[in-house]
Amino acid sequence: MKVAVVTFPGSNCDHDCYRALKLLDGVEPHFRWHRDRELGEVQAVVLPGGFSYGDYLRAGAIARFSPIMDAVVAFAREGGLVVGICNGFQVLCEVGLLPGALLRNESLRFRSHEVHLRVETTRTPFTRRYRKGQVLRVPIAHGEGNYHAEPEVLAELEGTDRIVFRYVTPAGELSAEANPNGSAHHIAGIVNESRNVLGMMPHPERAVEEVLGSTDGLGLFQSMVDHLTAGATL
């Protein structure tokens, strides 16, 4: 199974994503450059973290006009699996595949530490290996991860089971202290309406080996593989 990892100028988690995918049996990651116009024969796409185009103007605002993005949008509209992590999430919002926007962290600080995430739904191709309510330890590293959307958009995300991860305490409780950036509804990750596009601020690819301190992120990539090989419905 081939998975494309897109590198923009300023991406810095592309190799981490590549390595995480490489750990899985039968997965062949391939880099795609932002100037490429085609994804090739791939079954999934990862938009990695980093600071594409130096975060100039707004994080992700310029990357969304990269030549490769037309192919990514077309792939997503056809139902292909796309996951955007950190800067990749920002790009997915800017390009309109996901609703809302990511604002400056409420604290104004760049936050780089481990957080606890609660799996809010397993009804996605990215979380089927987890249990609903399971608490994951995964790192974050961002200055603009404060998820914002209009109240009616938030209500729709809630009502349609599209909030995938929320920031919680180690015990799995919601609290202001456990929300590292001030995100609305403690949102750490969401899917689109057809549930094939995931955006999340935390870095599952940095939690895939014991030496990294956690392997809780592995399930996300394994879920994608399960989904693509089993072809099960959501």
Binding site: L57, F65, G100, L103, R104, E106, L108, H148, A149
Partner: protein, 94 residues
């Protein structure tokens, strides 16, 4: 073709949390400036456009704002258009 200066001001939408503005407000308070009721931080973008006339310059700048310069989810924009002095008129030198 004429040349126009377009000044675009991009601002966080009303009601949207602006932590940067809040931090500056606190700084002004701590410097002893009283009566500062609010601070909002946006950005200013200056464009130099060539267009046949003011209306065309403004229409093109608005399109650029909608497509790239402002994020409609979080930001509003306003702009002012001014015709640049024509180059053949020259500038006064002393």
């Amino acid at each position: 073709m004429k040349r126009f200066h377009v000044e675009v001001r991009v601002k966080p939408r009303p009601g949207l949390l602006d932590p940067e503005g809040k931090a500056i407000h606190h700084a002004l308070d701590s410097l002893g400036y009283e009566g500062v009721a609010g601070v909002r931080v946006g950005k200013a973008i200056d464009l130099e456009l060539e267009a046949s006339g003011r209306n065309e310059a403004e229409a093109r700048a608005r399109e650029m704002c909608r497509k790239l310069l402002a994020n409609p989810v979080t930001e509003d924009f306003e702009l002012t258009v001014a015709e640049a002095p024509s180059e053949d008129a020259g500038s006064p030198s002393s």
